[in-house]
């Protein structure tokens, strides 16, 4: 099954505050981007499951059409509790490795044109 990283040019993450991390996914092909946008792959529920956090901790999933990008923003959490940068439970001070779970997110659609 193809993975999200295969259709992306860039996957990155960064804190947007001491409390919030945001991931950017840039998709290479317009067709893949359109497919991803209409698929129900990137939903708040799915992201919450992937990152093991409460759904309400997922702030938003934004599709940015003009650059074929998806932005996923969520509160920093640990075992369901809200944390801040530098907390004992914070494993990623600047939130720069929080895109890793997205890298290997499986893409179920067999018709998807994988260009990677």
């Amino acid at each position: 099954m193809p993975e999200l990283r295969e259709i992306a040019t860039t996957l990155r993450s960064k804190n947007a505050d001491p409390f919030i991390t945001t991931c950017d996914v840039f998709i290479r092909e317009a067709s893949d981007y359109r497919w991803l946008k209409q698929s129900q792959l990137l939903t708040r529920e799915h992201i919450a499951e992937l990152y093991r956090m409460p759904v309400k901790a997922v702030i938003g999933i934004y599709f940015v059409d003009n650059i074929q990008a998806v932005k996923i923003s969520f509160f920093k959490t640990h075992k369901g509790r809200y944390i801040a940068s530098g907390d004992l439970e914070d494993l990623d001070l600047v939130g720069a490795q929080q895109h890793i779970p997205l890298l290997r997110m499986a893409i179920p659609d067999a018709n998807l044109r994988v260009t990677g």
């Binding site: 505050d17 840039f26 702030i59 938003g60 940015v64 003009n66 650059i67 940068s85």
Partner: protein, 479 residues
């Protein structure tokens, strides 16, 4: 749309004919000393910069540095020197926000010393307007007393819904992200020939680059979008990094052209539009003091190989507000890793750890910290991962953690190279010992700080090496 690097390099342009040129880079010390950055600043000045702007503080690393009064990322003199000297020679102003990992007065002071140094070394006078980013508690209390509500920016349980008198009392220090307005006020002094530039404490990243165009009467939306693109220097270029300077040219109709000052890099539609969404939780709207920048209708266009033109952002005026950032102390903590290489030492490690535990608790009580209980006990990992299984004579890393038993919570922390430790509620927290590649004792020291909320409490102790004598634990910091 016009532009292109050749045209940019043409001499004889003046601001009335071309746009206003803003040279921007990151000056917070995390870039280190880079000849490439210095070259790119020089190149930008040669390409006709009308102002040199750089952001130099941020809070993404958390509350510690603000609370501890430390800069975190020490200033790099070279990165300021070339800009200040260049600005003076070219008769253009500089605008820097300063402080590193925070921007209160303590951090600002650390950065200002570098300007003293530059002035001394070069035998010049640097005249600058310095704007504090710190907010006095009295000021905030007066606002509260006047019935002004200060709601939290994000709906997180880590912050009180509204700033309370207790929050203010508990705060070690409070700073505010200034917008461009105080800088604009200071730039009037530049116009009057009284200063060479402006240095600020905590500021909105993009406020630094917005100030000069606004001062010159350029439209707010274009200025704000330009600032948002160049605020991290070359992060908007391909390849993206924050290590050198970029140039933006702003027209009176709000059109922006962006290009890297170094010839080996380029700006592409993707790199520029991609950066406009960076570090923000919402890609379209960005709250700023006094307004919201909306880039959802913005258009990006490749002008030439390495220049991108941008237009179409809008600015929705809001009541003027600033973001307050406060920090309260939770106590002290320490974590450190020590290495044992001697097989005999490794064999007797459990006993040594017991000894060290005792010595540590004694030292802590001796340092005047009240109501301590011993916290640490040792065990080997019950089921070490196979990859990390312990070959004979492998160096060991010991990680341990101690904190007030009363505030103990269950948590697990992984250190950078596969070390971990665990603290559990009820019963003494266990110590885990993992093999590690680390060869040098590692220690981190500091007060734990929380963004106006939190429950944990830690103690800072800096040991010299493991196994320790009790004297090596005497450097305890006391609240």
């Amino acid at each position: 749309v016009h532009g292109g690097v050749n045209q940019h390099l043409e001499a004889g342009h003046n601001v009335a004919e071309r746009g206003l040129r803003i040279l921007s880079y990151v000056c917070d010390g995390r870039t280190g000393a880079r000849p490439e950055l210095e070259d790119s600043i020089r190149a930008g000045i040669e390409q006709g910069a009308d102002v040199i702007s750089a952001q130099g503080n941020g809070m993404d690393m958390g509350p510690f540095f603000l609370g501890a009064g430390e800069a975190g990322a020490p200033p790099v003199k070279q990165n300021f020197e070339v800009a200040v000297m260049g600005a003076k020679e070219a008769h253009i102003p500089f605008v820097f926000s300063l402080g590193g990992r925070a921007g209160a007065d303590a951090q600002l002071e650390v950065y200002l010393r570098v300007f003293d140094e530059i002035a001394r070394d070069k035998g010049i006078t640097i005249r600058a307007a310095v704007i504090s980013g710190q907010i006095s508690k009295e000021y905030l209390r007066a606002k509260l007393d006047a019935g002004i509500e200060m709601p939290r920016l994000f709906d997180t349980p880590r912050l009180s819904p509204f700033l309370s008198a207790t929050d203010i009392d508990d705060a070690e220090v409070i700073q505010a992200q200034m917008g461009p307005e105080p800088i604009i006020a200071a730039l009037k002094l530049y116009e009057a020939g009284e200063i060479d530039g402006v240095l600020t404490g905590r500021a909105v990243d993009s406020g630094v680059q917005m100030a000069y165009p606004l001062f010159r009467g350029y439209p707010t939306a274009g200025s704000a979008h330009m600032a948002k693109i160049v605020e991290c220097g070359s992060m908007c270029c391909d390849p993206p990094n924050a290590f050198y300077a970029v140039m933006a040219e702003l027209d009176h109709d709000g059109t922006v052209r962006v290009w890297p000052t170094r010839p080996e890099y380029r700006c592409t539609v993707r790199s520029v539009a991609g950066h406009a969404v960076y570090e923000r939780e919402n890609p379209y709207q960005e709250k700023n003091p006094g307004g919201t920048l909306d880039v959802s209708e913005a258009m990006y266009e490749q002008v030439d190989d390495r220049t991108v033109s941008v237009y179409g952002a809008t600015w929705d005026r809001n009541p003027y507000t600033v973001k307050l950032e406060g920090v309260k102390s939770l106590g002290y903590e320490t974590t450190f890793v020590a290495i044992a290489n001697d097989p005999a030492l490794i064999a007797s490690l459990p006993a040594l750890i017991d000894q060290a535990t005792e010595a540590t608790s004694l030292a802590v009580v001796g340092a005047g910290v009240a109501s301590r209980t011993p916290w640490v006990s040792a065990r080997y990992p019950p089921d070490p991962p196979r990859r990390l299984s312990l070959p004979r004579r492998s160096p060991l890393s010991c990680v341990w953690w101690h904190r007030r038993r009363t505030l103990l919570s269950t948590s697990r922390r992984r250190c950078a190279s596969g070390c971990s430790l665990e603290i559990s509620r009820g019963g003494p927290p266990p110590l885990e010992i993992w093999p590690s590649r680390w060869r040098a004792p590692f220690s981190s020291k500091g007060r734990r700080m929380s963004s106006m909320s939190g429950t944990s409490c830690h103690l800072t102790i800096r040991p010299s090496r493991f196994p320790s004598r009790s004297s090596s634990f005497r450097e305890a910091s006391v609240p």
